[in-house]
């Protein structure tokens, strides 16, 4: 039983990353109608920016949490301005192919210069060590990841669902012409939204840098699972993707305990089941 608690907690930690990443994907899909396949590559860039800030500029983890999302977010906004915006109104497939291509290029460039084994990034001193919870030894850093990503997820949900700015955003996706008639700069809002989604990916990248290796393929390995999370949660649903992210982390954690060989596939089995029963995802609206 003790082991089970520990596995639940570990699942929650992985779920934090799924939630942060699928949240960004859901925001981008909900507002821009783009299936952002470059998300994994941008997550990886977040981790690399943190690494460079530390190794080249001596800028610590805490500043990286702030700066990396901004830097990668700006990169994302440039992508949106120069490439993605031309795809508005076209079939989803175009956006998917374009972002997939961008992901391959970004990963290829990083791999060319940094190889595949990755670079080490130390846990910040303030978060070193662990807590003995009786049933398990919980590293402080992991506890921090769960709490921090929960806060970020809820803040993002609040921003989009409960504030005036969020209302503009949602209105702009429903009917851009009408919103523009009210004097709101819709293209700029779309760009900023993409920047926000990308920033969330970069933030997840910084969070994961001390746990995993900072390596060019870290995003590629994760992104497929995250897509499954978004599909299960319902494309474009903010709360859906947050809850599914955490829930799937826990389910995966339990699988690692009861039947480890299947831990890589369990998410996809669930995806198939959900699609069979409810094709719009658990919380999705009909297209």
């Amino acid at each position: 039983m003790q082991a089970l608690y520990a596995q639940l907690l570990v699942g929650l930690i992985n779920g934090s990353f799924y939630a942060l990443l699928s949240l960004g994907l859901a925001v981008i899909f909900g507002m821009l109608n783009i299936i952002n396949f470059a998300h994994g590559a941008l997550y990886m860039m977040g981790a690399f920016v943190a690494y460079f800030l530390l190794s080249l500029g001596g800028i610590n983890y805490w500043w990286a949490l702030l700066l990396a999302p901004v830097i990668v977010g700006i990169f994302g906004m440039i992508l949106e301005r120069t490439m993605l915006q031309w795809l508005t109104g076209l079939d989803h497939l175009y956006g998917l192919l374009l972002t997939f291509g961008i992901a391959l290029i970004v990963q290829g460039v990083f791999q060319n210069y940094f190889g595949s084994s990755g670079l080490p990034y130390a846990i910040p001193d303030q978060l070193k060590g662990g807590l003995n919870l009786g049933f398990m030894f919980l590293p402080v850093y992991r506890a921090w990841v769960v709490i921090f990503s929960l806060v970020v997820c809820i803040a993002t949900w609040f921003l989009i669902e409960k504030t005036r700015l969020g209302a503009y955003l949602r209105a702009a996706t429903e009917n851009p012409t009408l919103v523009r008639a009210f004097g709101i700069n819709v293209p700029r809002m779309i760009t900023l939204t993409y920047g926000l989604g990308v920033g969330l990916a970069a933030l997840a990248g910084v969070l994961s840098a001390p746990i995993n290796q900072v390596r060019p393929l870290m995003g590629a390995d994760l992104i497929i699972v995250v897509f499954a999370v978004v599909v299960i949660g319902g494309m474009g649903s903010i709360m859906g993707s947050i809850i599914t992210g955490f829930a799937l982390g826990v389910i995966e954690g339990l699988t690692k305990y009861f039947y480890p060989e299947a831990s890589n596939t369990v998410v996809f089995v669930l995806m198939v089941l959900v699609l069979l029963v409810k094709p719009t995802g658990l919380t999705g609206r009909a297209a």
Partner: protein
């Protein structure tokens, strides 16, 4: 009638001479470097292995003697079906003579069958499974560098003898992990230790916390890592995070490469014991080679033991071809020649290839230096022991290889 006999004789004579010419003077060779070019094993083999093969060709000096040697490379993506498809295409279309490297035991064993079928030459350096020269041995195969038997009988044995008598395995769930766990289990039980449990994890797992908690709960003295590359680095990093070593359990990195230590960082990796058959900083020859090698690598990394094995294997292969006076394009014949010649090169020293295809050379027990002991960007290991080749690798009496039953 007379005329027809004459022309028949002439034809036969011509055929004999052309066949003879092709046999003696065919000095074209095509080498295929098949590896994981972009995944978790790319740094320990990958582009560096192709470079090692190129350097071996240059250093052989055969180009000046009229030989034409080409190298092509391929990415098997750690998938046996892709690996065999590339190997077949190389033999059928590109007329490749020899395939080198091939890390990932699953792919390596699949490719082994193709090469035997096509009568090519196989110089494997990257794969670990001892089956390549044991149950699944082939007259076309030479296995350089290391294998799971050697890892178990060096690192594994040393740890059991130092008091690590209860083991828990974290095993990569494919041919390599299974072979390493099997060979290590045999050593542990033979030395009076016991296995208290284990988990099989999928290849390329980013998060090991769940498995590490199970290892921690097992209370085993030694947690044996029967995995490699990115999986090993992630396990070791995360084990530090979960306080496993501080809690009194010891990690046995059964297979650890130079690039893995770089990726983990000395802060976390210090004190780990493991075995390799090559390290760049062994002697003047290895240092000289590694300097030339690193200058040509984009990452400026010195060679790993896998890349060194590719170099040494190709050098020996070319020596055998030179001794044959030409390339017969007959895999079995070339491998027999390779086995009949003692091996000697700057990187592995003197050795031999056994009848089952296993290359025998010394193995070295290393310990990872502490950050303060390390004096340069790749100064990672200190030597703690040397195991002679005949003790490190499978004794022929224990081998189930069919080639030995002649």
């Amino acid at each position: 009638m007379k005329k027809s006999i004459a022309s028949f004789l002439l034809g036969t004579a011509l055929a004999v001479t052309t066949a003879g010419a092709a046999f003696a003077q065919d000095k074209t060779v095509k080498i295929g470097a098949l590896s994981d070019q972009s995944g978790l094993y790319a740094d320990l083999g990958g582009p560096g292995s192709t470079l090692a093969a190129q350097m071996a060709v240059e250093d052989s000096g055969l180009a000046a003697k009229g030989w034409k040697i080409d190298i092509i490379s391929g990415d098997h993506q750690n998938k046996p079906d892709i690996g065999t498809a590339i190997a077949r295409q190389w033999f059928d279309v590109d007329k490749v003579d020899v395939i080198v490297d091939v890390p990932n035991s699953g792919v390596a064993l699949a490719v082994n069958n193709v090469i035997k079928e096509k009568n090519g030459v196989y110089i494997n350096s990257g794969a670990a499974t001892s089956d390549l020269t044991n149950a699944q041995c082939s007259p076309n195969t030479v296995h350089w560098t290391y294998d799971t038997y050697m890892l178990a009988h060096t690192t594994g044995q040393a740890l059991v003898k130092a008091g690590g008598d209860s083991w828990f395995f974290l095993t990569a769930d494919y041919a390599f992990g299974a072979a390493l766990e099997r060979d290590t289990t045999a050593v542990v039980t033979a030395n009076g230790g016991k296995i208290v449990g284990g988990v099989k994890h999928p290849l390329n797992t980013p998060d090991f916390s769940s498995f590490l908690l199970q290892a921690q709960a097992s209370k085993a003295k030694i947690i044996g890592l029967a995995n490699a590359g990115g999986d090993t680095t992630n396990t070791i990093k995360q084990a530090a995070e979960f306080g496993i070593v501080k809690g009194g359990q010891k990690l046995a990195a059964l297979l650890l490469f130079l690039t893995d230590v770089k990726a983990i960082g000395l802060e976390t990796a210090q004190g780990l014991n493991f075995t390799e058959t090559f390290y760049w900083d062994m002697n003047d020859q290895t240092r000289a080679f590694s300097k030339r090698f690193a200058a040509k690598m984009k990452s400026s990394a010195p060679p790993t033991m896998v890349q060194a094995g590719v170099y040494a294997g190709v050098r020996h292969y070319l020596k055998a071809l030179e001794a044959l006076g030409g390339n017969p394009h007959d895999g079995v014949k070339v491998v027999e020649k390779m086995k009949s010649m003692p091996t000697e090169d700057d990187l592995f020293g003197k050795g031999e290839i056994q009848p089952n295809g296993r290359t025998i050379h010394s193995a070295y027990l290393f310990e990872v230096k502490t950050p303060s002991e390390s004096k340069g960007p790749w100064d990672f290991y200190k030597l703690v022991g040397t195991v002679p080749g005949d003790q490190a690798f499978t004794p022929l009496s224990e081998s189930k290889c069919a080639l030995l039953k002649k």
